[in-house]
């Protein structure tokens, strides 16, 4: 069941690689309200960069389509990020998640999912060939002492 978000934001943009930097920075800015550590913020940026790059490279290899990024602040100081596309889908998700597996060009390493898994606490990938893919990632941020309390 979906937990109720305490705050959320949605971004939609065309699958142009110039939007990768925008997407990761925008999610990091949104996450700033959770008072993350610098490391946590960098982890979030890195994971978003991987997920958005996947959508841009693999969902729409020969065309420009829409990429949707949602970020939600959930109870328990959990940040949930969903990156969704309506592209060609992943025929074999288990294979796609294997380290070093890539169908991308020579400038891809095949480590995107491995990095998302290691930088976030939870990663769920759903995909229907011909319909699209959604990647949902969760990260629990460490509680921090508020100044003066």
């Amino acid at each position: 069941m979906k937990s109720k978000a305490m705050n959320e934001v949605a971004l939609e943009f065309p699958s142009r690689s110039s939007n990768e930097g925008f997407a990761r920075s925008a999610v990091a800015c949104f996450a700033a309200q959770m008072d993350p550590t610098l490391n946590e913020l960098e982890d979030i940026k890195t994971a978003v960069s991987e997920a958005v790059t996947n959508a841009i490279v693999h969902a729409y290899p020969d065309s420009i389509g829409k990429v949707l990024v949602k970020a939600r602040v959930c109870p328990g100081n959990v940040l949930e990020i969903t990156v969704k596309d309506h592209g060609k889908g992943i025929p074999d998700i288990d294979k796609a998640r294997e380290p070093m597996f890539t169908t991308g060009g020579e400038e891809r390493s095949g480590m995107g999912f491995t990095i998302m898994e290691s930088f976030m606490d939870k990663l769920v990938v759903r995909s229907v060939p011909g319909k699209g893919t959604s990647v949902t990632m969760k990260k629990k941020l460490a509680p921090r002492m508020k100044a003066g309390k």
């Binding site: 930097g21 490391n39 890195t46 020579e106 390493s109 480590m111 990095i115 290691s118």
Partner: protein, 101 residues
């Protein structure tokens, strides 16, 4: 991202700076290969001190550098890796394949 090349005595130093992501990866890779082909170094040093962000595109770049230097019978050293980029390399286990200092 930017690459600044310095070559001396068949040592090639490439100073990488800025954000290394998929958007700039293709150009960066080409630039690196052109620099290596021009210098034909024995040793390639990738200095990452100026890198402000890196995702898995940086891994592809480093592995490509490694392949290229392998063909030249040379070596690659990756140095001054910032904390965030280091975690990306560690998550991918790249330290087993390339010398990082």
């Amino acid at each position: 991202m930017e690459i600044n090349a310095k070559s001396m005595d068949r040592n090639l130093l490439l100073e990488l700076s800025g954000e290394i992501d998929h958007h700039g990866a293709r150009d960066a890779m080409r630039e690196m290969e052109l620099a290596v082909d021009a210098a034909l170094p024995k040793k390639l040093v990738l200095d990452m001190a100026g890198v402000t962000f890196m995702d898995s595109s940086g891994i592809a770049l480093i592995l490509r550098a490694q392949q290229r230097m392998c063909l030249l019978d040379g070596s690659v050293l990756v140095c001054h890796v910032p904390e965030q980029a280091k975690r990306v390399l560690d998550a991918a286990g790249i330290g087993r394949l390339v010398t990082i200092r």
